[in-house]
Symmetry: none
Subunit: 162 residues, 2 copies
DNA sequence: GCCACTATGTATAATTG
DNA sequence: TCAATTATACATAGTGG
């Protein structure tokens, strides 16, 4: 913004855009560093650019993972064992109940609920509209799919590291 | 930094720290917005504070998930590694490719993934067709919604059985 | 392309209401 | 506590090597 005020729009000139990115990237990281030290808060920033195939991850990929994990409410692999709190207990009890409901459900109910779930997941429908029974079923359906996804991810990880 | 230069250290005074956090938080988000519009890059920031139980996630939890999943998509070894041949032809070619992917991905990826997710969840498409990055994204999306469902169920349990 | 410089726009610490 | 104000430090667009 010095020398001249710049319009807040995509910079079409390639080299100018790159230069601006470099400068502002470091500025942003600096600001992030400052707010964490000054205020004692946790933060992370991820910056993708076309200039590098890898993103700039602050404070570090590992720390970012930790912050992200908290955001995703998923503990990183090492801390998984410690998860014995109220929430996971509730979850376990929930899954038992859900298993029953799932087995009783017909093919029609499944499709219907999948529709509803999709509506909810895509934000077109609030979860408020669902009854407690629907929620149980939905929870089961979603966590079932989550397990499939996680298994597949594990497979990828094993295959990649082994 | 105006009126007086501030020492870069934890602000012990509670109200001063809170005020500083508020101001700098908005400043940081603004800067992040600017760099994305000016340079056409993807970015996300997550700010935890003790002032709110939920983190401030920019641009939005869902968009952040997408950025995060791309970051997590990379195998750990690659995350820290810097390209050794900085000026090589390979790197240039890589940048070009990355630029394309970035441009194409930004607008369409979310809608595309939601579609794919629905296909998978409804059983019309096997999870096998998804890349590891897609799976991470999907895992985040699904577990995020699972948490919403669980919170709602807990609410029901407290108010109906208690 | 990469610095270093510097003039100028912005962010923000302190102050006031 | 929150907003609005203001004075000052900082970030950075343009410039030249």
């Amino acid at each position: 913004m010095p020398r001249s005020k710049v319009k807040l729009a995509y910079i079409s000139n390639d080299s100018a855009r790159r230069t601006t990115f470099r400068k502002r990237e470091s500025g942003l990281i600096k600001k992030a560093e400052e707010i964490t030290t000054l205020c004692g808060v946790e933060a992370c920033a991820i910056l993708y650019s076309s200039y590098s195939p890898e993103p700039n991850v602050w404070p570090s990929p590992l720390d970012a993972q930790r912050v992200i994990s908290r955001f995703r409410n998923m503990a990183p692999p090492e801390q998984n064992k410690k998860m014995a709190d109220q929430q996971s207990f509730t979850r376990q009890r929930l899954e038992k109940t859900t298993e029953k409901v799932t087995k009783l459900g017909t093919e029609n109910q499944h499709n219907e609920m999948t529709q509803v779930m999709y509506q909810c997941l895509s934000g077109r429908l609030g979860f408020e509209c669902l009854s407690i029974g629907d929620l149980y079923y939905l929870s089961g359906l979603v966590s079932q799919n989550l397990r499939v996804i996680d298994r597949r991810l594990e497979f990828f990880q094993r295959h990649h590291s082994g």
